[in-house]
C-alpha cells in the first residue's frame, strides 16, 4: 500500500481531513477502516439528512454530497494530500430510496491521471450488494 494511502488509514489524519472541509464536517461523515483494512466512508444518520419527511428518506442531494466528499477524500489519499482536488463533474444514479439509518460508501479510483482522476462510488445501507446509489466523478488534481 502506498505512502499516500496510509495517510487516510491514520485515524488522526482522517479526522483532520474531515474537519478541514466544513461541509464534510457539517453532514457528519467519517472515515473508517473495515476488518480487511479497506477504507470505508460512513454517514451516520442525522435528522437534517431527511429529504422526504413522510417516508423519512435521506435527501438525494445529501447522498450525492456524501459520495462526492468520499471520492474527494479517496483521491487525496490515493494521489496527493497537498492540494484539495476539485470536482469537475459527477453523475449520480439513484437505485433505491435511502432510509433513516447509517449509510456507507466505498470508493474505487478508476484512473489516476496527471491532471484528472476518475472515481466510482458505491453507497449502501444494510447490504453492500444492494447499493442505494452509485456515482461516477472526475476530479482535477494538483495546483
Amino acid at each position: 500500500m502506498s505512502k499516500a494511502f496510509d495517510f487516510l488509514l491514520d485515524e488522526k489524519n482522517a479526522k483532520e481531513l474531515v474537519s478541514s472541509i466544513p461541509y464534510a464536517d457539517y453532514i457528519g461523515m467519517k472515515i473508517q477502516q473495515n476488518i480487511n483494512g479497506e477504507i470505508i466512508f460512513v454517514l451516520p444518520f442525522q435528522e437534517k439528512h431527511v429529504g422526504n419527511p413522510m417516508i423519512r428518506a435521506i435527501h438525494g442531494g445529501i447522498l450525492a454530497s456524501f459520495m462526492e466528499c468520499s471520492a474527494a477524500m479517496m483521491v487525496i489519499g490515493t494521489v496527493s494530500h497537498d492540494h484539495l482536488p476539485k470536482c469537475v463533474n459527477q453523475t449520480t444514479e439513484y437505485l433505491k430510496s435511502a432510509k433513516d439509518v447509517d449509510t456507507y460508501a466505498r470508493v474505487k479510483v478508476n484512473k489516476a491521471g496527471r491532471r484528472i482522476v476518475a472515481a466510482t462510488v458505491s453507497c449502501w445501507q444494510q447490504d453492500e450488494n444492494t447499493p442505494v446509489a452509485i456515482s461516477h466523478s472526475r476530479f482535477m488534481v494538483g495546483g
Binding site: S20, I21, P22, Y23, A24, D25, Y26, I27, E47, K48, H49, V50, G51, N52, P53, M54, I55, H59, G60, G61, I62, A64, S65, F66, E68, C69, L84, K86, C87, V88, N89, Q90, T91, T92, E93, Y94, S97
Partner: protein, 168 residues
Amino acid sequence: MSNSSKGDTPSGMEGLPGGFGDSHPGFMEYQFQPVYMEEKKAAMMLPYNEKFVGDKSTGSIHGGIITLLMDTAGGMCVMATVKQMMPIATLDLRMDYLRPTKRGMNITAEVECYELTQYVAFVRGFAYEGEGDEKEAVAHMTAAFMLNTKGPNFGKASRFSEVDGGEK
C-alpha cells in the same frame, strides 16, 4: 447564521414545495428559499453560509450543497410542471461544476423541465451567483425524475390538501 429571514412566498407557491418551510427538517436546516415557480420552471436560492464551505482558503461553497439545492429545485420544477404534489424520485442527476463560487455569494438554482413523458420528467438548469448583469453560472445540472413513485403523496398532507397545481 448569516441569513435566516425568509422572503414572501411567491405567488403560486402557496402550499407547494416552498411551503415545506417549517414542516420539513431539511428545508429548515439548509435555509433554501424558493424564488419563483411557474409553468415548467422553478428557482431556489441558497444563502451563503460558512458551514457549507468546501475550501476554507477561498471560502467557496462545496459542490455537494449545490447538488442538494439543484436536486431540490429540480423536484420543485417537476411539481410545477405536472401541477400537483405527486410523489417523485430522482433517477439520476449529473452536475458539472463550471467554476468555484466566491466567498459570501448566494447561489440561485434556476431549473426547467424540458420534457415530460408519462413516467419520467427531464430537467436541466444552472446555478448562478450574483444578480442581473453580474450573474455568473457556477454549475450546470441535468436530471431525470420518475413520476408517481410509490410513497405518500405530498398533496395528501393536510396543509397541501387544497392545492392542486401551480400557476397557469
